[in-house]
Symmetry: C2
Subunit: 191 residues, 2 copies
């Protein structure tokens, strides 16, 4: 998606070879017109999939998922991050290890909102090691719903998450796939 | 806003006299078409205010704020909740006491995204004791930006937050103001 890649080149800030800060338009300040265009592109890619629900994870996935949902005419469910020891019986739960923050947390979704017969699209802002997507996919699987695929805004294609998930059979559509980055040479996209 | 009140009557679940669960359409599963109508109503109420930025707080304010922002044609910034002891110098910060969860946390926003000259609308899903709004207002004040007001989806008008904030001069627009509720008698709105 050229509009997105141009924006990353213009406003993304590279720190070392692994950190890409897109705080100014994606995950702290949010450019909602860009999100709308991203949502339209997800709809174009998953047009034929009869998606009836979008599942994302708090917090930075929510805005993108909500703008995308307008194009799919469906509700959004967001998984909540929980570090509490007591998980109730009325939720689906999965453990996710965050490489960014170096800790393990549970993601939970009320059983009321994922059901057999649902066709679910996962949406998130970043894909790196794929832990968050894997956790969301487990919630879908546990519910008996059908996982259609995942729509990702920025994939760090130099990390293994995307390729591993595709090899396992998940349809992953990433709108910008970063193959390499450095503070001196800037950012390179796949293709 | 009648559409919203009707939805609360239909799908809200009352627990005791203080807890209103609206998980099925507002803050876990999210009805994005309803959010769009809510956003249009916020725009109608704040039409003349030249708002150039919406500030909300993670996680459940984000979806509403993003749909509202489409009507204001402005970006959204979301304040992050932090329990870390180390707050860096490049953020504005405020302490918020959560009555629901019984703990104090910091809310932080990068100094890059709130600036003198900004005209800020706060948006959140619930207003009860007003602690979250008060924290957001402090972030705006510390930045030198102008606080235009606050748009709230559901105000628990039987708790003091809304009246206190109005008495202090904040313009608070709540789309549904609950005056009382009980499991036997249901929900009553102001007006």
């Amino acid at each position: 998606m050229e509009l997105l890649k141009d924006r990353i080149r213009k406003d993304g800030k590279i720190r070392g070879t692994e950190v890409l800060k897109v705080d100014s338009f994606l995950n702290h300040q949010m450019d909602v017109d860009l999100f709308d265009a991203i949502g339209a592109e997800f709809k174009r890619r998953f047009a034929d999939c009869e998606i009836n629900k979008i599942l994302t994870i708090e917090a930075s996935g929510i805005g993108i998922a909500c703008l995308a949902a307008r194009h799919f005419h469906c509700p959004v469910v967001f998984a909540k991050k929980s570090q509490s020891r007591n998980i109730s019986n009325d939720v689906y739960t999965a453990k996710v290890e965050s490489f960014t923050h170096g800790k393990v947390y549970d993601v939970v979704v009320s059983k009321e909102y994922l059901n057999p017969g649902d066709k679910i699209l996962l949406i998130d802002d970043f894909l790196a090691n794929g832990e968050a997507l894997r956790g969301l996919a487990k919630l879908v699987s546990d519910s008996g719903a059908q996982l259609v695929g995942a729509g990702i805004v920025i994939e760090k294609a130099f990390q293994p998450g995307g390729d591993n998930l595709r090899a396992e059979g998940m349809r992953v559509e990433s709108l910008a796939r970063v193959s390499a980055m450095s503070e001196t040479d800037g950012i390179t996209f796949v293709d």
